[in-house]
């Protein structure tokens, strides 16, 4: 009988740059979505420094999330945290915070898969059985449900698209995060010839970013190069998601991950979906980027299906792949 009552979960996200704490009800009502972003002083992400940032911020994020929602720990029936994939020190920091909160308030604790959370939060938009185009810093995957698992139909075979954009932006003298900065200056209609690497449903980005840097060094304007990178990399991403849609005969597309905030990508994905006659769902920006709400939501979905928490759910896993998760809640 308790099952029919509304439940509230708290989710802790700390896989990479973002420390996040989110609160959501079992009906999908978002009560709070608190986030703090680690910005490196120079260079790329330093795992230990990012972890230090998270351990500094997380206590305040817990507090402000509960305050915003007007809740006390006693109102919460599940603590959910991102077990992986991600950077070891960051994951351990989030897990420690989650454990401390769960044990001190005697609430069940569950570790969930970060990539699957990106997909599941897309279902809140109304999709039922979609293909997810998941584009973030470290992850670039095309995921869909088949036979008990979220299977990865295609993915990057070298670097994640976001890391590629960030790296190019950094080399071009822009700070972190590079993707949004490139989006702002990307202009024009002159398309430079850059490597378009699609292998079946897999992608590769490192050659593209190297070639882009060479174009920049050889005198092309930053706005033209940025424009060409976006056109090429996003067209590749749309093509592999269309391949997955054709292959699985699914009728819905969901975008997820930080790069899915890019307006040009959204536009291209919408055109592709329209031409193909499938429906395209784009979660709002704060749910596309890494956040605690999606972690909490996935935890609730798993518990709704009476997921049996074991010891392994309490251990972080840097290489926790999407297709390792047995989907029992669908």
């Amino acid at each position: 009988m308790r099952k029919t009552l509304s439940k509230i979960a708290i989710g802790i996200e700390s896989t990479a740059h973002t420390a996040g704490v989110g609160l959501i009800t079992s009906e999908g009502k978002i009560l709070s979505n608190q986030r703090a972003l680690y910005v490196p002083k120079e260079g790329g992400i330093h795992p230990r420094e990012a972890a230090n940032h998270h351990s500094e911020k997380l206590p305040d994020l817990f507090k402000s999330a509960l305050e915003e929602a007007g809740l006390t720990p006693a109102d919460i029936s599940l603590v959910s945290y991102a077990r992986g994939p991600g950077l070891g020190p960051c994951l351990r920091t989030g897990a420690t915070a989650a454990r401390a909160f769960a044990y001190s308030h005697d609430i069940p604790l569950l570790g969930v898969n970060h990539c699957v959370a990106h997909l599941e939060i897309g279902l809140l938009e109304g999709a039922i059985d979609p293909v997810l185009l998941y584009l973030s810093g470290a992850n670039t995957q095309v995921i869909a449900y088949a036979a008990g698992r979220y299977r990865v139909f295609g993915e990057t075979i070298d670097i994640g698209i976001g890391n590629g954009l960030d790296k190019f932006a950094r080399e071009a003298g822009m700070g972190f995060p590079g993707g949004p900065k490139l989006e702002k200056i990307a202009k024009g209609d002159e398309l430079l010839d850059l490597p378009y690497s699609v292998k079946g449903m897999d992608l590769a980005f490192s050659g593209l970013m190297t070639a882009a840097k060479q174009k920049l060094d050889s005198g092309h304007s930053l706005s033209t190069v940025a424009y060409s990178i976006q056109e090429t990399a996003f067209a590749m991403s749309c093509e592999v998601s269309e391949r997955a849609l054709a292959h699985t005969a699914k009728k819905e597309l969901v975008l997820g991950g930080g790069v899915a905030c890019n307006m040009r990508l959204r536009e291209m994905a919408n055109i592709m979906a329209e031409e193909r006659g499938v429906k395209c769902f784009v979660p709002e920006r704060s749910l596309c980027v890494d956040n605690g709400v999606m972690i909490a939501w996935l935890g609730l979905q798993m518990m709704k299906a009476d997921y049996n928490i074991t010891e392994k759910d309490n251990v972080v896993d840097q290489k926790y792949r999407t297709d390792m998760v047995e989907v029992t809640w669908r």
Partner: protein, 202 residues
């Protein structure tokens, strides 16, 4: 005119053409792509696919014959193979024989330095013999890792659609009849040890 398949880059239709039932494979426009990128990709792929099929035809491999290429419409007109897909055929009792023939066909492609790119059980047709179709993702390559990747795609589609038959051993033993297969099988082992493939086990 009957649309058989709307893929990610082409529409495949069955049509009557000069008194024959033929396949029209048209690479239709992708509105999300920049026009000049679109033009370049379609031209490259049209050319590569037709050349690879030509190469195989000239060696007598069982692939659909090309009747014509209509460059202005980005369209390849080719032979209609009147049969059932291997995926369906494998559900019958003669599956061992079909697996053996498919393995021999794939090793023949590989021996001619063609990598299919997407050899799933839906991309082989069974008539009185077996035909390989859809060379949209094919490349010319003599790299054992590319060949091994073909094997993996085939074995994975066997695994996901035909888990009831243990086709792997049969398929690989017949593939191994090809004299240069040993290094490909070796490359397959290395490929399957990579994290992204070996974690698929449930």
């Amino acid at each position: 005119m009957e649309v058989n398949y709307r893929g990610a880059e082409a529409i495949v239709e069955t049509r009557q053409w000069l008194g024959h039932k033929v396949i029209f494979k048209t690479r239709n426009k992708r509105g999300y792509r920049h026009p000049s990128l679109e033009k370049k990709l379609v031209k490259e792929r049209l050319r590569s696919e037709s050349r690879i099929i030509e190469r195989l035809i000239s060696r007598g491999v069982n692939v659909p014959a090309i009747y014509g290429v209509d460059i202005s419409n980005n369209c390849i007109i080719m032979e209609y193979i009147d049969g059932i897909t291997l995926e369906k055929a494998l559900r019958g009792k003669d599956f061992e024989q079909y697996l053996a023939q498919t393995a021999q066909l794939l090793s023949l492609l590989h021996s001619l330095n063609v990598v299919h790119g997407d050899p799933t059980t839906s991309n082989f047709m069974v008539t009185n013999s077996i035909y390989a179709i859809d060379f949209g993702l094919s490349t010319v390559s003599e790299d054992d890792e590319d060949r091994a990747s073909d094997l993996r795609v085939f074995l994975e589609s066997l695994d996901s659609h035909h888990s009831e038959i243990s086709g792997r051993e049969i398929f690989l033993s017949h593939y191994s009849e090809w004299s240069s297969s040993a290094s490909v099988i070796e490359a397959l082992k290395v490929l399957e040890l990579r994290g992204r493939y070996n974690l698929m086990r449930g």
